[in-house]
C-alpha cells in the first residue's frame, strides 16, 4: 500500500496556499464558536492529517442535503470540504452505475473497514419489511445493517436521517424512522452517531464535524438530540440580529408592512426561531449571504424533530396547532347538557329530601320522653 496522502499534500497539488487554508480554518473556527486565534493551530494540524474516508448512503431523501454539500465548484472555500474527505462512495456523484457501483461500495468498505465515516442521508422505511425504498433490490435497512458495523462513526446528514423528517411526518405511510431510532431499537449496531439536522443542513457544519474529527480525533460534544453543540447550542432566536426587536415588542404584522420593512421581529408571522437550534443566524447560507430571517421570512424550524407536524409555518408559535372551535363548540354543548343533568338531579334530590322530611310535632317529643 502506498503512503497515505496528507491533507497538506492534497492542498499543495491543488494550488491552495497556506493563506487560503488559514482562511478556511478562520471561517470554520468562526462557525464552531472557537476563538479566532485557534484558526492557525487548526490549519497546522489539518495539513498534517490524512484525508478521512467517507461512504455516503442515500435512502428516503430528496438529494437536497447533497445539493447543499456540493453546491459550489472547486476550489472554493466551501468546496474544501471535499479536500478534507475522500468520498469513496456516493451514488449520485459516482460515475459508475449498477453492479459496478455496488462493487465500489463493497470495495471501499473493505479497504477502510473500521476507519471510514458513514454518512447517511434520508430516513429508513420499516413498514412491510422496508420495501418502500430499495437499491439494487435490497432494502435500505439491509444495506445499513451491512455497512454500520464497519464504520468508525455515523453522521446522519439532514433531518430525515436524524429525526425521520418528511417521510416520518404524520401519517408516516412507509413507517420511516431515523438512524438513531434504528440504533435504539437494536436493528442496527450501535456506533458513535452525530445528527447533523437541517432541511438541508448547513454545509460547513459537516466540514466542521469532519475537521473536529481530524484535528482532535474525537467526536464533538453532542446535545440531547445527538447534534454537535458547537453548531446547535443556541436557538436561532438567541443568535438572531432581530432579537432586540422581540424584546422591545416590535413585530412585523404582515410581510410587507412598515415593521417588515424596518426589519422587525417575525415572531407573529410564524417564525419558529425560539424553538429551533441551529447555526443559521451565524453561519448563514449561500456562502454567507444571509439566512431566512435576514431575507425577511421566519424560521421554519427545519432542524428540529417533527417540524412538519408542528402546525402551519405561518402560525405564531403560541397559537394552537389545530383550530379549537369544533372542540370548544362540542364542549359547550356537552357542558350545558351535563350541567342541566347534574342540576336537575340536584333539584330532584332536594325535592325528595323535602318530601321525606316530616315536621317534628309535640307528640313526637312526648313519645320520646315516655320510656
Amino acid at each position: 500500500m502506498h503512503e497515505p496522502e496528507t491533507l497538506g499534500d492534497v492542498l499543495a497539488k491543488r494550488g491552495v496556499s497556506r493563506r487560503g487554508f488559514l482562511k478556511y480554518c478562520a471561517t470554520l473556527a468562526s462557525l464552531m464558536a472557537l476563538p479566532p486565534s485557534v484558526a492557525a493551530q487548526m490549519a497546522d494540524k489539518l495539513t498534517r492529517a490524512t484525508r478521512q474516508s467517507v461512504i455516503y448512503l442515500s435512502f428516503q431523501e430528496c438529494t437536497g442535503c447533497l445539493e447543499s454539500l456540493s453546491r459550489t465548484h472547486s476550489p472554493t472555500l466551501e468546496g474544501l470540504l471535499f479536500d478534507l474527505i475522500s468520498l469513496d462512495y456516493q451514488e449520485t456523484l459516482l460515475a459508475a452505475a449498477g453492479h459496478a457501483a455496488e462493487e465500489a461500495r463493497a470495495n471501499a468498505m473493505r479497504a477502510n473497514s473500521g476507519k471510514f465515516v458513514l454518512m447517511v442521508d434520508g430516513a429508513i422505511p420499516l413498514k412491510d419489511g422496508g420495501v418502500y425504498s430499495t437499491i439494487a433490490g435490497r432494502t435500505n435497512i439491509e444495506i445499513l445493517k451491512e455497512a454500520v458495523p464497519h464504520a468508525a462513526a455515523v453522521i446522519a446528514v439532514g433531518t430525515c436521517s436524524s429525526f425521520g423528517g418528511l417521510p416520518h411526518a404524520n401519517p408516516n405511510p412507509t413507517g420511516a424512522v431515523s438512524v438513531g431510532t434504528l440504533m435504539e431499537k437494536g436493528l442496527i449496531e450501535r456506533k458513535p452517531l452525530i445528527n447533523v439536522s437541517g432541511c438541508p443542513p448547513i454545509p460547513v457544519v459537516i466540514s466542521g464535524v469532519v475537521a473536529h474529527f481530524l484535528t482532535l480525533g474525537t467526536l464533538p460534544e453532542l446535545d440531547g438530540y445527538g447534534r454537535p453543540k458547537v453548531f446547535f447550542g443556541d436557538t436561532i432566536h438567541d443568535r438572531c440580529y432581530r432579537r432586540p426587536f422581540y424584546d422591545q415588542g416590535k413585530f412585523a404584522k404582515t410581510f410587507d408592512d412598515e415593521g417588515a420593512r424596518n426589519g422587525w421581529c417575525l415572531y407573529e408571522l410564524g417564525c419558529k426561531g425560539p424553538t429551533t437550534y441551529n447555526a443559521c443566524a451565524t453561519a448563514k447560507w449561500n456562502g454567507g449571504v444571509s439566512f431566512p430571517i435576514e431575507s425577511g421570512h421566519g424560521c421554519l424550524g427545519c432542524s428540529e424533530p417533527d417540524f412538519w407536524d408542528a402546525g402551519s409555518f405561518y402560525a405564531p408559535l403560541p397559537a394552537p396547532r389545530a383550530p379549537l372551535s369544533a372542540a370548544a363548540g362540542a364542549a359547550i354543548a356537552v357542558g350545558v347538557a351535563a350541567g342541566a343533568a347534574v342540576g336537575l338531579a340536584g333539584l330532584y334530590k332536594r325535592k325528595k329530601a323535602q318530601q321525606a322530611h316530616t315536621k317534628l310535632t309535640v307528640d313526637d317529643l312526648e313519645t320520646e320522653k315516655k320510656p
Binding site: G20, K23, P36, T76, L77, V289
Partner: protein, 135 residues
C-alpha cells in the same frame, strides 16, 4: 455570475439600528491595551454577534479607515484594512463569489494571514530554484 451581479441592494434602515456597537468598541479598547502591555492582542468574530446591517455601518463609521489596505487572493478575496485606530484591523474573508464568509476584527501588529507561512516560503524557494537552473 455571482450574487453580486443581482441589482438589489440591502438598504440599512435607521430603524433597524440595534445599538450593539458600544460593547464592541469597549472590547476593542481592552484588546488594544493588552496588545500594548503584553504584545498579545486578540480578535473578535463579528459574525457571531447579532448585528444588523445598520450596526455594521455604524461600526465602520466609528472605527474609520486607516493607512493600510491589502487584498489577498487565496480561494476568493480577503480584504485586510487597518482602521483609523492603529493596531485595529478589519479582516473580511470572501469566497470566490465575492460574498463575505467571515468577518473579523483583529487587534495585532499585523494580521496572521498577511504573513508568509514557512511552507509557502519553501514552495517559493523551490520555484525560484527551478527558474535559476540553467537551461
Amino acid at each position: 455570475m455571482s450574487l453580486r451581479d443581482i441589482a438589489v441592494r440591502v438598504e440599512a434602515s435607521p430603524a433597524s439600528r440595534i445599538g450593539g456597537i458600544r460593547p464592541i468598541l469597549h472590547e476593542i479598547r481592552t484588546l488594544l491595551a493588552a496588545l500594548i502591555d503584553t504584545g498579545r492582542g486578540g480578535s473578535i468574530d463579528l459574525r457571531s454577534l447579532p448585528l444588523s446591517p445598520a450596526d455594521f455601518e455604524a461600526l465602520d463609521a466609528a472605527l474609520g479607515e486607516g493607512e493600510v489596505r491589502a487584498t489577498i487572493r487565496a480561494l476568493g478575496e480577503t480584504r485586510v484594512t487597518e482602521t483609523a485606530i492603529h493596531g485595529v484591523w478589519r479582516v473580511t474573508h470572501c469566497n470566490d463569489g465575492g460574498e463575505a464568509v467571515a468577518d473579523l476584527i483583529e487587534v495585532c501588529d499585523a494580521p496572521e494571514i498577511l504573513k508568509t507561512h514557512a511552507a509557502d516560503a519553501r514552495v517559493g524557494l523551490a520555484k525560484l530554484r527551478t527558474r535559476l537552473e540553467p537551461g
